[in-house]
């Protein structure tokens, strides 16, 4: 009965209801967009960074991370690949043999990072072949050539088709030395990588290090919105934990996690301020509603309506209006984010160049994680319900005679 009364009441003055619901609507919409934007930026950044480096998750020989030596490698295992790819959230896997060596060309010598990769699988993930600035990309896992970071090449003063000499420590303390033709130069955004990396077909690097069929890691790529820790657990269950270890990018690149953590903590403060502004807008609307209805409320009390009942009806009304606003807000938020996902905002000017230099897509990416919709809507709903207690409080304090005469 009370519900019905409240429902009828809110439609009696449509204009007021619409104005109030609009406040809630925009509150939900803005909160969702804000969160989607900030989360989306990180998701995108993480996705781009991990696709060049560790992958979202990496599988190593147990103990490898503690002691990153070529001796802690494991044998390639087709069954492991199958097991990983069986998980529907895993999009790609990248087997790698990652080592260090001294690289020299004529008089120059430099310590470098050797990444033994599967060129085909790698380019599916991070479009490595698009980053080639001179020469060509390596084609297969036994191509007898290497691709160098452009920065490294300029330090070694070497060009495409020159021969690079590599010297390192091989499997079981053997010595590893080999000569390779430089097939291409690659420009990478991450300066460290650009100045240090040598990409080598996987089988060539295994051969050079005397580590046939051995890998240091298998990198696993996922969808941007996958629950990282959950997936790590489920992968751990599906493979032998006595042989392998699974690590997330957060464990492998704590500094990036730290940077994001710091930045998103900042965003918590900012979104707090946003909630504050939103609450105030809502509060203002509710306050107006009470002013407008003072007369009517006074009459209701005068004719014998109990104050707490009236307060309860007002609360119900406010909750209903909030629900309408939240509901429409979520739909609009969903549509806005769908729109921006389909037609992303592109950066322009200097920022675009900087981002592209870093190999990050120069778009503003919106996250469409369902968690955002649920959490933001609940927060705004909670806020508006809390605020809705105010009209009730006002009613409890209302003096009918004054109200009627107002």
């Amino acid at each position: 009965m009370l519900l019905k009364l409240a429902w009828l009441n809110i439609w009696r003055n449509k204009r007021r209801t619409i104005i109030t619901a609009t406040s809630v609507f925009f509150a939900v919409l803005l909160a969702i967009i804000f969160r989607s934007l900030t989360d989306g930026v990180y998701d995108n950044m993480i996705h781009n960074v991990v696709s060049y480096s560790s992958g979202y998750l990496q599988i190593h020989q147990k103990g490898y991370w503690e002691e990153q030596s070529i001796d802690n490698t494991f044998e390639e295992d087709e069954q492991l690949y199958q097991e990983l790819l069986k998980n529907p959230k895993v999009t790609h896997i990248m087997p790698r043999l990652q080592t260090f060596a001294l690289a020299s060309y004529s008089e120059k010598t430099k310590g470098v990072l050797i990444l033994g990769i599967d060129p085909v699988k790698e380019k599916e993930v991070n479009n490595l072949h698009d980053k080639i600035v001179a020469g060509e990309y390596i084609e297969s896992i036994n191509d007898n050539a290497v691709v160098l970071g452009e920065g490294l090449a300029s330090q070694l003063k070497l060009k495409v088709n020159d021969t690079l000499v590599l010297l390192g420590q091989g499997y079981h303390a053997s010595s590893a030395a080999a000569k390779f033709r430089v097939k291409g130069l690659i420009k990478l955004g991450a300066i460290e990588l650009n100045n240090n990396v040598v990409y080598m077909p996987l089988q060539q690097s295994q051969y050079m290090y005397g580590a046939e069929n051995r890998l240091t890691s298998v990198s696993v790529m996922l969808n941007k919105t996958t629950d990282l820790e959950g997936l790590k657990q489920s992968l751990l269950e599906s493979i032998d934990p006595n042989i392998y270890e699974v690590m997330s990018w957060k464990e492998m690149m704590p500094e990036m996690d730290q940077f994001i953590e710091a930045d998103s903590t900042g965003h918590y403060i900012v979104i707090g301020v946003l909630y504050f502004v939103i609450s105030f807008g809502l509060f203002g609307t509710l306050l107006m509603m009470i002013f407008e209805r003072k007369h009517e409320l006074g009459i209701l009390i005068a004719i014998g309506m109990k104050k707490h009942l009236l307060a309860f009806i007002l609360l119900l009304e406010a909750i209903m209006i909030s629900l309408i606003g939240c509901f429409t807000g979520v739909i609009a938020g969903f549509l806005v984010i769908k729109w921006f996902t389909a037609y992303p905002i592109h950066f322009t000017g200097e920022l675009k160049e900087v981002y592209e230099d870093y190999g990050i897509e120069s778009i503003i990416y919106f996250s469409s994680h369902e968690k955002i919709f649920i959490v933001q809507t609940l927060i705004v709903l909670l806020l508006s319900i809390l605020l809705a207690f105010y009209p009730g409080y006002k009613v409890m304090k209302l003096k009918p005679v004054e109200a009627i005469n107002s």
Partner: protein, 405 residues
């Protein structure tokens, strides 16, 4: 008279006017706070990079940064350093020798950048002594002492006093190996650099590289007032005409990216907040207009034309804005000044941060011109928000309005 009516109108419904005034106060405050907070966060990054790593200005041999080869030196550095130190706009100066090579422990090897530093000068420059976690900052007096990062130590599985070998090429392109003993382990706030930067005595590295004592690869300069950066750069060109002089912005394009992205997102976020403010004001002013339909109808009947009604509503909002803005400005300024002294400890909000040892205290700060921008933005927003309600008032038909009497 219109001004007077508008002014008195806003005091008729005090609560409503207070709601709008408070919205504006909150809008101005929120704008100031968020911008200053973002600025503080970003300054934190810059401060860390500039004062503990890059310095304001670096001088190299023109070929050095391309090749990273130690043979590209600046000669007579002692003289240059002295000359620069005597300038009172410059806070500190130090010179370094730099080589890249490999560090080898009994278990593994890693690529490193080797800095030969003058420990006493660097106390004022990168202040590495403050980051030493274990051991001491070059106090043994032995020339083969080395300072390495905690992360690298972990990777190499070495401890204090462990012996490690550095391998690099000298200026004659010969491969040189030198044994060093770890005298200290440091941890800076940039963990990824901790893994690659190692520090040794400059004199010793010069000998190993076959450099003369007066030759250095890098001169780093901290200035007292960053405003004077450009004029100081001019001055340095006069002192070291053969050198390549770069400021921190040129040295670290990454930093530039952080700044650029930060600016962009800050503006987006401020935009969202202003939008939220807009809806608050539109709603309240709309209610105020709709509530007074009959009164507005009467005003039209007695001869106020629509332009005047429009002006009246706009004036009301304008007055409210005029009251709210200075208060918001004051509160915002007080917040920034207070928090700028005490700082905001982010670790309060995130346990993860403190465990990383990240510098989690942010000192909000804001330039004067940013205040002006925010105030202008809020003013414009408020006035724009009033247009719709005022326009709504224009659409009133006097007879219809009056019929509601």
């Amino acid at each position: 008279m219109l001004f007077q009516i508008a002014w008195r109108n806003i005091w008729r419904n005090k609560s409503r006017s207070l709601v709008v005034i408070c919205s504006i106060i909150i809008g101005v405050w929120a704008g100031i706070f968020i911008l200053s907070f973002a600025w503080g966060l970003y300054k934190n990054n810059i401060y860390e990079s500039v004062y503990r790593q890059l310095s304001h200005i670096q001088i190299h041999h023109p070929n050095f940064s391309d090749d990273n080869d130690s043979k590209f030196t600046i000669s007579n550095t002692d003289e240059i350093v002295k000359k620069l130190q005597s300038d009172n706009r410059i806070a500190s100066v130090s010179s370094r020798v730099i080589s890249t090579g490999m560090i080898t422990s009994p278990t593994t090897a890693s690529g490193v950048k080797i800095y030969g530093i003058n420990p006493s000068l660097e106390v004022n420059q990168i202040r590495l002594n403050g980051y030493v976690r274990q051991g001491a900052y070059f106090d043994s007096g032995k020339e083969n002492e080395i300072l390495i990062g905690e992360k690298l130590a972990k990777k190499l599985k070495v401890k204090l006093k462990s012996k490690i070998v550095l391998t690099f090429t000298n200026t004659e392109s010969e491969i040189i190996s030198g044994a060093f003993r770890i005298g200290g382990i440091y941890r800076s706030k940039n963990i990824s650099l901790d893994e690659v930067n190692v520090y040794v005595q400059k004199k010793h590295l010069q000998e190993l590289l076959a450099l003369k004592p007066s030759e250095s690869n890098e001169i780093a300069i901290l200035v007292k007032d960053e405003e004077q950066l450009d004029t100081i750069k001019e001055f340095i060109i006069g002192v070291v005409p053969q050198g390549k002089i770069e400021d921190w912005k040129a040295l670290s394009p990454e930093l530039n990216m952080i700044i650029e992205s930060f600016n962009l997102y800050t503006y987006i976020i401020s935009g969202i907040i202003l939008l939220a403010l807009t809806f608050g004001i539109i709603n309240t002013m709309l209610m105020s207009v709709l509530e007074r339909i009959r009164e507005l109808g009467m005003l039209m009947a007695i001869g106020l034309n629509k332009r005047k009604i429009f002006i009246m509503i706009m004036l009301e909002t304008f007055y409210l804005t005029l009251i709210g803005t200075p208060i918001g400005l004051l509160i915002g300024w007080l917040t920034v000044t207070t928090l700028g002294k005490t700082g905001i400890n982010l670790s309060m909000f995130s346990e993860g941060l403190s465990s990383y040892g990240f510098n989690s205290v942010i000192y909000p700060a804001l330039d004067q011109d940013k205040y002006v921008i925010i105030v202008t933005m809020c003013l414009v927003t408020a006035i724009l928000s009033a247009i719709y309600p005022a326009y709504k008032a224009l659409q009133l038909n006097p007879s219809e309005a009056i019929r509601k009497i």
